[in-house]
């Protein structure tokens, strides 16, 4: 039963991903990404970590993708022609990606990768928010604090970057119009 759901979610996710990178309209691309992200959240539920699914929806879909949509809207981007790729890159990039996919696929399917068995706390099947909370504030307290600082930095940085000067001048970055 779960297998079926897995396949459903997987297929939709893959299709949505493909749509992200192929459609011309950026708005369509963003919406496809939203669909993909929702599938990923569903997969989290399948993996019996509903907390992650919730986090995913809230943050990724709710905040990040909305931000994307805001950006897409603000910047007046026209439809782009798919065929206009970077000059000369296509013939190297596609084989590289395919090769990468195949190599890593081989590694995953038939590679003799050993996975270290964890000796941490045993997971609690089912509801384990308490576990996460406990870990987050004891074992991983340092990364937690760091990430919060990071968020602050990102916040401030984003604001600073886009801030216009009060007098109407350009923000404090160098003009790059001049030829070197």
């Amino acid at each position: 039963m779960e297998q079926l759901f897995f396949y459903i979610f997987a297929v939709i996710a893959v299709a949505a991903a493909l749509a992200v990178i192929t459609v011309k309209n950026p708005v369509h691309s963003a919406v496809s990404l939203i669909v993909c992200l929702i599938q990923v959240a569903a997969l989290y539920v399948l993996l019996k970590i509903p907390f992650l699914a919730a986090v995913q929806i809230f943050i990724y879909v709710g905040a990040v993708m909305v931000l994307f949509l805001f950006a897409v809207m603000i910047i007046d981007i026209g439809k782009e022609r798919l065929k206009e790729q970077i000059h000369g890159q296509k013939k190297y990039a596609i084989p590289a990606v395919i090769l990468f996919f195949m190599a890593t696929g081989y590694m995953v399917l038939w590679g003799k990768l050993t996975v270290p068995t964890p000796n941490d706390s045993a997971p609690l099947p089912g509801f384990h928010i308490e576990g996460i909370g406990k870990f987050l504030y004891t074992k991983y307290i340092f990364p937690f604090e760091l990430v919060s600082v990071l968020l602050l930095v990102a916040l401030v940085g984003a604001i600073v970057l886009v801030m216009k000067d009060k007098k109407g001048n350009r923000p404090k970055d160098h003009t790059i119009d001049e030829k070197p």
């Binding site: 890159q89 990039a93 590289a96 990606v97 190599a103 590694m107 990768l113």
Partner: protein, 670 residues
Amino acid sequence: MTEAVWLIPILPLFGAIINGLAGNRIGKKAVGFIGCTAVGLSHLILISTFFHLSTLPHLNRSITVAGFEWFASGYFRIDFSLLIDPLSILIGLVVTGVGFLIHIYSLGYMHADKAYWRYFSYLNLFIFFMLLLVLSADYIVMYLGWEGVGLCSYLLIGFWYEKKTASDAGKKAFIVNRVGDAGFILGLFLLFWSLSELGVYSLKFQDVFENAPRLDPARLTWITLLLFAGAMGKSAQFPLHVWLPDAMEGPTPVSALIHAATMVTAGVYMVARSSVLFTLAPISGEIVASIGILTAFFAATIALVQNDIKRVLAYSTISQLGYMFAAVGIGAYSAGIFHLISHAFIKGLLFLGAGSVIHALSGDQDMRNMGGLSRHMKITSVTFIIGAIALAGIPPTSGFWSKDEILWELFQNGHYIIAILGLLTVFLTAFYLFKLVFMVFLGKPAPDRQIDRPIDESPRIMTIPLIALAVLALGGGVIGISFFGGESFLHVYLSPVFEPGSLALPKTHGTTAFVMMAVSVTLGLLGIFLAALFYLEPLRSIAPKFLNPGEIAKRFNGIYQLLCNKYYVDEFYAAAIVRPVKRFCQICLSFDLFVIDGVVNGAGWLTRLVAWLSHQFDSYLVDGAVNSLASVVNIGSRVWGRIQTGYLQNYALVFILGILFIIGGVMLVI
């Protein structure tokens, strides 16, 4: 007493050194004083040594005064020691005595010369070497003196070295002497070698003469011939006579001392000293005598046609030396020594007289410009004529006694050919001597003589030695007169030296002696008479036509030319030896220049080549290395810089490629 003997050679050496080093600063008077007293004192010491020697028993008169060891090698040891015996004392007395007189004469003759001090230094040096030669006790020291007198002869002949003919003559003398000396030293080597085979490692006279009878006669013949070769060079016998006439370029007192009285007699002395060896090798004795008499005749013929006073006397010296060699060659050693002594007096006198004439005529030596000088120079002409009479062999002069002794000995011992040649030479000698006398001193003055200043007699300092020598020339023969039934003083005196070697000559002079005397005197007078006919004015005009010298010269032109050109001996040497040697020297010189220049230029060229190569190396390799490094970096950066395209997605592609590499690596490992 014996220690004072060392002063005999040392005093002239000191004189030479002092005059040589300080001569030009101490003034002419001091120079002359030092020079003359050095020789004079040596003479006095010799006289006292002579008396001392006479006190010793007759047969034992030989003292060896030991000096210091010169060098030693193995068994061979050479000491510097002197031998005092009758022969060496006698010759030493002659050398210092005549030398002293000539020194006095030189005070006057060389008075105006600017190198006065050099002259006296050389003259004293010569006396030193000559005494060393005469007083030595072994062959090596004698050879040292031998070479030394050769050196001094060169120095004195080329005294006026600015004159090319003089320096050439000096060179010629030295080189011809050297040829003879080569023979001499070879003879010494052979002698030493032969003696060493007998176990005797010494060249002292004593040792040599004691052991000589043990040597093989053939070997001895070679030795003596080689020694005689040296004597031929030193005493100007044919064919090594060519230097003596040219040696007249030197000052006249030098000619008197060296080339008449002393140096040229060194050869005779050496043969006389080696009497033991020559007696043991009779063949070489014959050869010595033959060469001697041939030279005597040959030189006399050349003297007939000479026009230079000094040349006539030079050839006369060669001729008389031939007589001496003829004597010692056949074994009549004391006769030869007697002639040596009397010739020293006579020739010394003649040369000094010639010098007086030349001095008075301010350097003119051509006899054809002279004549009638007896009016102006009484003492010179009288003494000269006495000397000429003595040399021509007219009694009672010393020349007569000594020459006659030789002729008698020759005849007595069966050497008739040599004796006849000797008589002929007597005739020729008288002729050319009196030709000189008549042309120079008697008769009328030459018509084309420029009279730029009055001709005066030479100063007293020059005429006193002339008088002294004239007295000796007249009376010196006393020591050699063999009184009837006995032997001469000289012979007796020298007998301890020559007794072991000399022939057992019958000493009694019988009627043959008187016949010889008469013959030689007649020939001498004939020669004088003929010369008078040719050259003396009153007789000349009444002489028959065929006896005119000009006519004879025209009639026998071939012979005349031959004699004038001295039998072309000099020309022969020039063609056969001198020119090839010069050509060889030229070849050596050009080869040397070529090689040296080639080497130097080649070295320079090589250096430039190396410099150029190194420059090329530097500019291409070194600069090339630096430049290529720079261009490698440049090209590399240009090539690798293309990675930075500026396109973000290119960089992302590189990420993926890198990941691919890592995955590939992991796949290989796992």
